[in-house]
């Protein structure tokens, strides 16, 4: 078996054998959907007249997917370094891109399954999400979003040496970003300066592009802009990630 195949298989087995983590990875965004869905059930956003669910479902989904990508790779890298597993890999001829590629394909799989489960629940009459005809465009958006957030996770996982640090740093970034990017509250309800500020956040573009493809809230151009921005963020974060990457805590 190739090094890539073996690492991916080992990662897959580790994932499915940890039932609790797997369950909560998928349940976590759903909790937010249920909470916000019930609070704002049947309501529309005053500024636009669109139903609240059409904001919240894509927003919570992209946040949940991004969150899982960040936490997944960050915990893995921190743990592998702490347990000297990265040192083991460092002593084999396997390249770092091969290692990251195996984690990447696992993150993509987790994210896509998360999205499918999430949308299936949001489509229930209780929540009442209606999909636009161009919903398949959400798939490439999803892949680009996971890639961008994975590269953020690489930076956090390379920097943090303990699980506590991973959780603290990742939450510090992801929770405020969720609010500022309109994942939990429609951006249309926020002051215009805040909407401008949110343009520096990757989650803003991820939300907009997912929203535009799933609910038709924007133009095809919005999806293209979102995808372009996510690629740009990926390039920047991946470059920083590869720079901060450490094989061992001791060097």
């Amino acid at each position: 078996m190739s090094a890539y195949g073996a690492l991916t298989a080992a990662g897959y087995r580790a994932q499915v054998r940890d039932a609790a983590t797997l369950f909560f990875t998928f349940a976590f965004p759903l909790v937010f959907l249920v909470v916000f869905g019930l609070i704002f059930s049947g309501q529309e956003v005053e500024e636009t007249g669109r139903p609240y669910i059409s904001y919240i479902a894509p927003g919570v989904m992209s946040w949940g997917v991004g969150n899982a990508a960040v936490f997944g790779i960050a915990f893995t890298l921190m743990q592998w370094r702490r347990d000297d597993l990265l040192r083991l890999i460092r002593m084999t001829p396997t390249s770092l891109p091969t290692v990251l590629a195996s984690r990447y394909v696992l993150a993509l799989a987790v994210g896509v399954v998360q999205a499918v489960v999430f949308i299936a629940v949001a489509l229930l009459p209780l929540f009442g999400l209606e999909l636009d005809s161009r919903w398949p465009l959400a798939l490439p958006v999803l892949l680009l979003g996971i890639t961008a957030f994975l590269s953020i996770g690489v930076i956090i996982g390379s920097y943090a040496d303990t699980p506590e640090a991973v959780a603290a740093i990742a939450n510090f970034l992801m929770v405020p970003m969720a609010f500022l990017s309109g994942s939990f509250l429609p951006l249309d309800m926020m002051p215009s300066w805040l909407q401008t500020v949110s343009r520096v956040l990757p989650l803003r573009y991820f939300n907009d592009a997912v929203s535009a493809s799933l609910t038709g809230s924007g133009s095809l151009g919005d999806i293209a802009v979102g995808c372009g921005a996510l690629i740009g963020f990926t390039v920047v974060f991946a470059a920083i990630g590869l720079k901060t990457f450490r094989w061992s805590n001791r060097t």
Binding site: M1, S2, A3, G5, A6, L7, A9, A10, R13, A14, R17, D18, Q79, D83, D84, L85, R87, L88, I89, R90, M91, T92, P93, T94, S95, W247, S248, T251
Partner: protein
């Protein structure tokens, strides 16, 4: 013809033929000098022991040889090439015993080893062969988290062997093993040596170093304090043989008066006579009242080791004493 005959005699070429060639290597961490001008060679097929107290620089030296660390100065050549920076062509020829924590999580023993084998590009059959070698066949389907300490250690050793490397680094491989497992591992190591592998072995067990290693280097405060075969070290150290007598046999002063006795002390309930000429002293004791209750203890590698390592620790004190004696 003449040329080929002279080649082995040329020290320069012998160096190129060595499995490891370390020359004048120094490494400093902040203000601490971890290695200070270390030079050594490990021959191909040699079983080389690296001994020394904690903090002597063993780990740093091994990590430099493995290519995990860069030297500040000096040169290192491993199997004829430089290990630093990360040398992908060299890595499959090296086997490194991993930490007993370095396992892929939630994998069975054979799954972990198969993953490591794949990282090295080794064939699949290697996994079961290696599990056999380290006697983990029965734990094949046990999750790594559920292995005992000794089993984890053997799986970590298996990670170093699975791709059949030429040069193997083992770090305290018997630390968590029970006496039987320890002897079993010795057999494995003898087998590796017979198969022509080169082994660099870090240990605190001096009996083990004496039994297994062709040569040992004793590292003290970042320098090589001694480097020879265990036998050569014990011999060259001129370490005294100790004769243990029941203390009521004679006084310390009487014992020191016996020709050939270098020193006599009361230790551990015995009168201990240290001598370089045990035969002569034994016959003198025989004449002085028989050899009943007299025990002979010859020097071991441990004595040499303890003398070298405690010398370093008490160097300052001893210097003062010498000055006083001279005055």
């Amino acid at each position: 013809m003449t040329e080929t005959e002279t080649v082995p005699a040329d020290p320069g070429n012998r160096a190129a033929d060595a499995a490891i060639h370390v020359e004048e290597v120094s490494k400093r961490y902040g203000t601490r000098q971890a290695l200070d001008g270390v030079s050594l060679q490990v021959g191909r097929g040699e079983f080389f022991g690296l001994l020394g107290p904690n903090g002597a620089g063993k780990t740093t030296l091994v990590e430099i040889m493995e290519g995990l660390r860069q030297t500040d100065s000096g040169t290192v050549s491993v199997l004829g090439t430089a290990p630093w920076p990360r040398n992908v062509a060299l890595l499959p020829r090296l086997g490194v015993q991993t930490q007993s924590s370095a396992f892929f999580v939630r994998q069975k023993a054979h799954e972990h080893l198969a993953t490591v084998a794949a990282l090295y590009g080794a064939d699949r059959g290697a996994v079961d062969r290696t599990l056999q070698t380290v006697a983990l066949v029965d734990q094949r389907d046990t999750r790594v988290e559920n292995l005992s300490g000794g089993q984890r250690q053997r799986l970590a050793i298996a990670s170093a062997l699975v791709h059949e490397p030429e040069l193997i680094f083992l770090d305290e491989p018997t630390a968590a093993l029970d006496p039987q497992a320890r002897r079993d591992l010795w057999d494995v190591l003898h087998g590796l040596k017979e198969a022509g592998r080169t082994i660099v072995y870090t240990t605190h067990h001096l009996d083990e170093a004496e039994a297994l290693c062709d040569r040992v280097a004793i590292l003290v405060e970042g320098r090589i304090a001694a480097l020879d075969s265990p036998r050569g070290l014990v011999g060259a150290a001129g370490a005294a043989t100790s004769l243990l007598l029941p203390p009521e046999r004679m006084t310390v002063a009487e014992a020191e008066a016996i020709p050939g006795v270098d020193r006599a002390v009361l230790r551990g309930g015995s009168l201990v006579l240290e001598t370089q000429v045990s035969g002569k002293v034994l016959s003198a004791l025989d004449a002085l009242g028989g050899l009943d209750g007299v025990q002979t203890r010859t020097a071991t590698l441990e004595d040499v080791y303890l003398r070298l390592t405690s010398d370093a620790g008490h160097r300052t004190t001893q210097n003062t004493e010498n000055t006083e004696n001279q005055a």
